[in-house]
Symmetry: C2
Subunit: 197 residues, 2 copies
DNA sequence: AGTATAGATGACTGTTTAGTCAAGTAAAGC
DNA sequence: GCTTTACTTGACTAAACAGTCATCTATACT
């Protein structure tokens, strides 16, 4: 019983968008409240600190992303198809965001993880965790491809680590250059890295 | 004539170290002054703003790095040797820094570029410029390898772009994981990406 | 309709921050 | 040794900032 509200969700959306657009450390609580149209008193009603909100927002964003990744990396599909579909999805999504906001933003989790890993231990842990969850999709696909024999691969774990580094590296290159076309190198890179039969 | 000082250099060193350790946006002018042992009045004697100092510091750091990169990528060496020596250097340097400071820090320019590219346009331009200078070493080596026929390469520019994305991607993975061993994947990745004869 | 409760609000405090400035100090050149 | 000039200092202002709280409001449940 009592009053209802979506202020919590508005705050989570706001900090996530601002972190993605700008950076974590550039944000103040006032900015986040303004973006969410929530007063500071309410902010502290829901969250203890900026870090606290950021951690919650990252987890929510992951749950949202997961609903997109699960079909893309569906075990019903050929493992290589999963990887290439994910490359296509990343390119298309990046273009869409640039069309709407004028900016290529890259992978929010990777950006923030790199920014806070030596400063905000709580948020660092959460982003680290999410990066690992994300990478597991790659590992699973590469391992399966190796087992099915569609690639000639002596070290699938290594291959998956490298593929994921390429993905994050290119997403950030795309951000820095504000150019989605950078991501057109993703599929050629995967083809070079995997000995496809 | 007049009083002499190395306060300018101390400030540049201080912001560079702090940006690398933490991040750009996390820093205040007071923190930088304290680290450099320089009073704020002196800060504003030399620089207009934090951005101004950061730009100067990045350029100085690049000039310093260049003296390391030039021998590593010396045209006197085989092109592939340059790339592999650079991978070794990156790994060793990263380990050394972790030994001293307890932290893997990755590539400062890539970290900062990704952090400020949508916010601080002046610093964004400078870091962007440096990333391009860095990548030129890769491009030159790969192109030469292709021309000399030591690799079988239809698209050397693409290969160089991918190699450099792997490098930056892994450097940041190493930072986030605080694990230099991530960089041991660098040379295997290069070997996978280039059809070495 | 009344009440208990979840949430909203804005005014408040103390602190940190950027940026300024007049007065002081050290060294280079005469 | 004196003057010019490059640099230093600490005290200052105003603004931005995090965090608190008493009071107000809406609504779910009885």
């Amino acid at each position: 019983m009592g009053r209802t509200s979506d202020a919590r969700e508005r705050l989570e959306k706001a900090i996530y968008q601002l972190m993605w657009d700008k950076s974590y450390n550039a944000l103040t609580i006032d900015m986040i409240c303004k973006e969410a149209d929530v007063k500071k008193g309410s902010f502290y009603y829901y969250f203890e600190s900026k870090t606290d909100l950021a951690v919650a927002a990252m987890e929510k964003a992951w749950q949202e992303l997961k609903t997109k990744l699960d079909p893309i990396f569906s075990p019903a599909k050929d493992p290589l198809e999963r990887l290439f579909d994910h490359a296509d999805y990343s390119y298309e999504k990046t273009r869409e965001i640039q069309r709407d906001s004028g900016q290529v933003l890259g992978c929010p989790c990777f950006n923030i993880a790199s920014e806070v890993c030596c400063v905000e231990s709580e948020l660092a842990e959460k982003t680290f965790e999410i990066l690992n969850r994300y990478r597991r999709y790659f590992t699973s696909a590469v391992k399966e491809a190796a087992e099915e024999g569609v690639i000639d691969e002596a070290n699938p774990e290594e291959a998956a680590r490298i593929l994921y580094s390429v993905f994050d590296g290119m997403m950030t290159q795309a951000r820095v250059r504000n150019d989605p076309e950078v991501l057109l190198d993703l599929k050629p890179a995967y083809r070079r890295l995997l000995k496809i039969k």
